[in-house]
Amino acid sequence: MSDRIFINTTINGETMEIVADERDSLLEALRDRIGLTGAKEGCNNGNCGACAVIMDGRLVNSCCVLAAEIEGAEITTVEGLADNGKLSALQETFLEDAALQCGICTPGFLVASTALLDFNPHPTEHEIRFWLAGNLCRCTGYDKIIRAVQHAAERA
């Protein structure tokens, strides 16, 4: 068995100590140790973006981060995007523009789009498509997602 480890970290603004397996990925720690199941396991190898989270200000795939690496880090997951139940602009426009069908890619797209607008509040369509190239959606054909991000940017 891998050793138990204790990780002091901040997740969605809350300082906490997580008990995890030494071999856990960040994705496994989020889902299986603290019950934050918003980040999804799609490919588990860094191709699909369904597990995307923001780690100290940059977008990462949580399947490609070890839980042990987030000691002292600040993590934002899809659960941290709404403010006291009030949806973020992106969450609103994803709903209004029907930028999802089955929904499994949606947490990753929301987190990746949030990181984009944090970095570049008024991206071009080209910049949005390039930024989101690491997020795969097999339902929408992407156009509705791009539109939702554009509409959220217009509201900022």
């Binding site: 071999r23 588990n44 860094g46 795939n61 042990a68 690496e69 390039f130 190239a133 690491g134």
Partner: protein, 294 residues
């Protein structure tokens, strides 16, 4: 994932000791975008991760005109391509850094890891080669410097000995009137593995080429530094004929395989086309103009 230990040494010496204690299944962890997946999928037997990101020498971007650019080997790509100095003086490195994986990969992945993985299609290595990168390597027997073009030995193989790792990458300050460009061909514009890639670094005196370094990837067991292609330009005026001669030399040096990404014939052709384009764009940058080819 198999049982694995995680260690985070704060010094080079501590990291070397951990690598020696761990033996051949101790793995350097920098960005983790390859090694974590390979360990999980059991493509690399792994007993201990040695996370080098807490070692000060492995992180950060330092430039001064006298000594050049030093990149910590574990510096994530997004920090490299967002760095104004790197973007202004080493745009060829930005060409590579901004094309490796997608945004979430670039948040973690590193040039040190891309070089150490020694992939034949690695998107940083042609740029490292033409920009005269030297890898600063440490190990039980001290330090050594290895040129990027000498580092890879075969697909997934490099010349690191037991207990060694790359601490940083050094680049000389580019010559006046020089310019460099990296391009790759893939079926989509992002998040894929190169069918062929190419980088060129040129120095011009008027329209005469005084220095040229050309590298191509995904066309051989390791990225190629094509001396013959550079030689076709050095001392000559930059014309359609000399550019074609250099691109022909790159095509002749390519010994690609057929696979799902491309045929031998297509890859040979692409080695010509991409080399021609990187030469033209490197020349544009050498003249202070923007790159144009995509």
């Amino acid at each position: 994932m198999q049982d694995v230990k995680y260690t985070r040494p704060a010094s080079i010496q501590e990291a070397i000791r951990l690598l020696q204690e761990g033996g051949p299944t101790a793995r350097i962890l920098a960005g983790g975008t390859d090694i974590i997946v390979m360990a999980r999928e059991r493509r690399r037997d792994t007993s201990v991760f040695v996370d080098i990101k807490a070692i000060p020498e492995t992180m950060g971007i330092n430039f001064d005109a006298a000594s050049g650019l030093t990149l910590g080997a574990a510096t994530p790509l997004y920090q490299i391509y967002r760095n104004e100095t790197v973007a202004r003086i080493y745009p060829c490195l930005v060409d590579s850094a901004s094309l490796i994986g997608g945004t979430a990969i670039q948040g973690r992945a590193t040039f040190g890891g891309n070089l150490a993985n020694a992939g034949p299609a690695a998107d940083s290595i042609p740029s490292l080669i033409v920009m005269e990168c030297v890898a600063n390597i440490v190990g039980p027997n001290g330090q050594r410097q290895v040129k990027a073009e000498d580092f890879c030995t075969a697909p997934g193989r490099n010349l690191l000995e037991a207990g060694e790792f790359i601490v940083s990458l050094h680049f000389p300050t580019p010559a006046a009137n020089s310019g460099a460009r990296f391009l790759r061909f893939i079926p989509r514009n992002e998040m894929d593995i190169a069918v062929v890639n190419s980088a060129t670094n040129l120095t011009l005196d008027g329209n005469t080429v005084t220095a040229a370094r050309i590298s191509i990837g995904a066309v051989a067991p390791k990225p190629l530094f094509v001396l013959e292609a550079g030689a076709a330009l050095i001392g000559k005026p930059l014309t359609d004929e000399t550019i074609a001669a250099a691109a022909n030399a790159a095509r002749d040096a390519a010994t690609p395989i057929d696979d799902m990404r491309g045929s031998i014939r297509q890859r040979k052709h692409l080695a010509y086309v991409l080399t021609e384009r990187t030469i033209r764009d490197a020349a544009r940058r050498a003249r202070g103009e923007a790159a144009q080819e995509h």
